[in-house]
Symmetry: C2
Amino acid sequence: MNRATVATAYQTLVAEGLASAHVGQGTFVARRDGGSLAPPPAEPFLDWDGHSSRAARRLVADTRRRSSFDLLARARPGLISFAGAMPDASLFPTDAFRQVLNRVIKREGAALLQYHAVSGYPPLKRFLMGWLLRHGIEATEDEILIVNGSQQGLDLIVRILLDPGDPVAIEQPTYPGALQTLEAFQAQLLTVPVGEAGLRPEPLARLLDQHRPKLLYCQPTAQTPTGLSIPQEARLELMALAARRRLPVVEDGFGGPSYQETPPPPLKALDPHGLVIHLGSLSKILFPGLRLGWIVASRPVMERLLALKQLSDLHTSALLQAAVFQFCQRRLLERHTRVVRAEYARRRAALLAALGRHMPAGTSWTVPDGGFSLLVTLPGRVDTDALLPEAVERGVAYTPGAFFFADGRGASTLRLSFSGIPAPRIEEGVRRLAETARPALRRRAPRAVGERSELPLV
Amino acid sequence: MNRATVATAYQTLVAEGLASAHVGQGTFVARRDGGSLAPPPAEPFLDWDGHSSRAARRLVADTRRRSSFDLLARARPGLISFAGAMPDASLFPTDAFRQVLNRVIKREGAALLQYHAVSGYPPLKRFLMGWLLRHGIEATEDEILIVNGSQQGLDLIVRILLDPGDPVAIEQPTYPGALQTLEAFQAQLLTVPVGEAGLRPEPLARLLDQHRPKLLYCQPTAQTPTGLSIPQEARLELMALAARRRLPVVEDGFGGPSYQETPPPPLKALDPHGLVIHLGSLSKILFPGLRLGWIVASRPVMERLLALKQLSDLHTSALLQAAVFQFCQRRLLERHTRVVRAEYARRRAALLAALGRHMPAGTSWTVPDGGFSLLVTLPGRVDTDALLPEAVERGVAYTPGAFFFADGRGASTLRLSFSGIPAPRIEEGVRRLAETARPALRRRAPRAVGERSELPLV
């Protein structure tokens, strides 16, 4: 036999899971449990930790710390999980999307599968110009960059603006992805508390008297984890403050479902000076898995973002951009938004009602203006991270609040996401949560009189 | 009228190109040339350059320097462009891909459009295990990470390994995307010359006597721009050297069309110690626009890569991964590879023959083992960057060689890519190139006797 035949045979065995290959050791018969009979790996040949960048060392330590939770919250039969704040896949307009994909491949497949301009698929950008304008944002085509979801947008923004050690103002609690990104960059985090009405301008003003952060990161509309939005008045105040202090503002996350009749305009709509770098995405309303988002920024910022996006991955898939454009163009996005908003509003109402019915006295929670989640504060010094295994035991999961805080606060808080659970199951989930919390609260000392709650009551 | 109606009207005008919006200035009637009658933009409110990261400042300066060429090489009627080294879109199996996309959306659309595991779509990873094994690489599923093309792979690798100022060994000439990425990271570049048989181990060994680079970047197989591959012997020598010096090696670009009967194995196949971080991609054989590639690395490296990939963009589109898996699974990739290899081989042969027929005496060029391009060295001190406008005037474009060098060399070289031009047009393109070069060579001094050519003759 020649070598190719043997290699093909091995390949087939590996592909069918009957064999398992190990670099430098050979190919082995696979064990039933998916492992193999290979000898245990020897000591690493190179000290990869010593060989890593400072960013990677920080990042790995942080990821290891967070991963214990991931493992725990994996599907158990019957578990009601309030943990993942993501849209419900059972509501996806999958077949409509298949049809627009077909259409764009038939029409312009070769061009969409070739290398593409870094800034994005022009028809989608032009559609976004109109969509943004409806939300009060006037942007030209060259002030929009299509990216792989807002997470990539945030990564690019941080990379063009921050050097290691730079101070950054960030609302707290906040999106853990932002905390991790900034921490990996060795940013010095300066937290600004979120009040009952979102990020508050006054503490930010006080912070700016003492520090010179290079930017402010915030989610002004339906922020994670609280679901709160900054009201119009405070937005104007915030933007006046940013202009006075020449403070760039990263505005993340406009575009999820809103439960307000007239949601306030995004900060970018109140920004005549080009200080706001605005991040949008279709992950909350349409498909998170497409990884499609956009940055709106003034031209000097855009020049830097384009150069870095090019180095990061050349461009975002034009095929997916074209399909989304077709989807939007045919008003399918509008229709879909109405459908899912109504459904998520039902789930939100069910959760708020169930919390009122079941949670122990003194428990408080935020009332979300939009998005998928709210934050609960338990009345006492309970560590919700430590309590999670017990909750999972009782058939309910949540995200411990400490994940959303930069400075170790938030231990007695937890995030509940209502987007993934049909309304009738929500009540049972909250009942299990209350059952878990009650004995834990009896075991711990109550919060001292006069001690400030970590989050506003509602 | 209410505000929404007015906003919708504006939106329609902007979408149809009749109006143009400017933040903080208002919406204006669009000019015919796509500009608008808006007042000229005022001075930027913020000094964004002073506000940028060091990386962004470097990157923008570098991008501005390179962009003059991009503008020039834009399509002119009748231009024969050897400039872009990309597959020919007219050979794309577009309809076959449409069919597999349909299939995967129908079967598992909802799951593929939801958030997905960061490391990649498991069936594609298992397929790759077998494919890699056929090329001599034994990798387990958790040693493979799916990324948005090898450009993202390189960016992730650099970010987990390098701190600003770190020394890096890199072959020269090389892929400009690698040079730009490393320069943006403020890496200290130590160049290792590419000889007639690719990267040479001896100069690398001498370099390692004096410096301690954190990694070596190379394209051992069909490297850009020369198309040369390192022979088996030298590969073994290189890997022995890397092991002796504990030198991580980034192996980029295996997977393009090969014109050798039995191409040598990738370096990763000769790496018992896990020193090689291997980058692969489908951009050269299948569709560049999918932005789909993979990294193969040992587990300690993979842990870092996964954490960073998560922060960079959460994951690569699972929908596209699943479609590519289906495409490969049905042996369509193998069939397609045979078709395009035959066509690119014809174009390569046409180019080599035309160069021999037309180029001025003393001109030399590399004979590519694979890939899409070769490097020509003109016999004299001609600056091919300065010569390009004249070439375009005569109806032919190329990439100036200086783009592939880190240290200002390569001025008398130029890259010709043959992948995008049908064989019959290639001869005419080379004739025009020779016509451009001949008078330029007469105007410049010939290279002094004994002065070393910048690249090996063939």
